[in-house]
Symmetry: C3
Subunit: 151 residues, 3 copies
């Protein structure tokens, strides 16, 4: 026996002129003006997204993530809030960690973002795994992500 | 001209109290008691999943994978059974390799699991690529995944 | 307020005997004979895919990508056309870069393909991040992807 629910849009606070491609699963979150949300996206409760952000297809934004203005989240980007500190997932949200993304942050496709803060004006390369906080603007890539030298 | 089929739930053996978020594509597999299956998931034929597992959104579990009890498969996790040993995909299932996941294994989001065995009580970090069998409990991360030192 | 559109198949040029698993989002692209397109896939406008290719679930193929014949794109593979050269996404397609995939190229699951050319008869490992053009047949893996020694 199984119980089946369907994805959809439930209890979301939208700004003006938001565009969504369904199917996506958005619930109990806040999405600012002029954002675009691609298909096959899930955004969980409590997430706050600023204005003029694009959240591309196949991405997942978990509880405790906040994202500033003018950010780009590429395709297949996964955010993480549970570090499995006790050897596995915690059912207690008090064990989860928050993520703060600044303004004008662009995250490449297939990147993975552990619970960190990322300052304004950062580019995360495609496929990167961000494991530590980022406090300086610039370009970061790799697993684990490191700052790239300026070209 | 094209032929279109739709995802759905077909010929699945469910335990008690399984919860599913659709759309997902589950067929000819076995899913144990009290499992949760998130949206945008595909689980192929012959897969066996134990009790009390969570398979999170955007994950793909291919043929020849078996998963124990109390496991957590994060978001965007991809399992692999074909190593392209002859320079490309094999249409012959006899060329594919199995994956065995033990009990209490937690796999971080965007991880990739090649056909290996993973013992009980293992944590795989987000974004890791597991290319070799894991026989000791502990935490593994990176591409290719390696065991992390104890903190 | 939000505007919602749904995924689907729109203005696609199909060859003979193409099979699609919906939901997927295919628009203004060309897909050759006997291709298979899995569920939760997005293929954008202008993409050209040759004959007898398999595009597996959860993959995203962006504008300016062309793929030859007899290719395999695994699950969760993301193509990229915008390198954020000016510190963020460009709204001007003239800033985007093309990707050319040859014939008999097999791309492992969760791989990320930056805008490059890849010659015929290449295998890209699961989870790889391809950042540079590939001009020699062989196997490539890692982040960034490097050629593997022959076994």
């Amino acid at each position: 026996m199984f119980q089946s629910l369907s994805v959809g849009v439930r209890d979301v606070v939208f700004g003006d002129k938001v565009a969504i491609i369904s199917p996506c699963n958005l619930y109990e979150c806040t999405i600012g003006d002029e954002c675009f949300i691609g298909p096959f996206v899930e955004i969980q409760k409590g997430v706050i997204i600023g204005s003029r952000c694009k959240i591309q297809s196949h991405s997942f934004i978990c509880e405790l993530v906040s994202i500033g203005n003018d950010c780009f989240v590429g395709h297949g980007v996964m955010f993480v809030n549970d570090l499995f500190a006790n050897g596995g997932p915690s059912g207690n949200p008090a064990d989860w960690k928050p993520t703060f993304i600044g303004n004008r942050v662009s995250i490449g496709s297939n990147a993975t973002i552990l619970p960190v803060s990322i300052c304004d004006d950062v580019v995360i390369g495609a496929g990167a795994v961000v494991t530590k906080k980022i406090t300086e603007p610039g370009n970061y890539a790799g697993n684990p992500a490191k700052k790239l030298a300026k070209k």
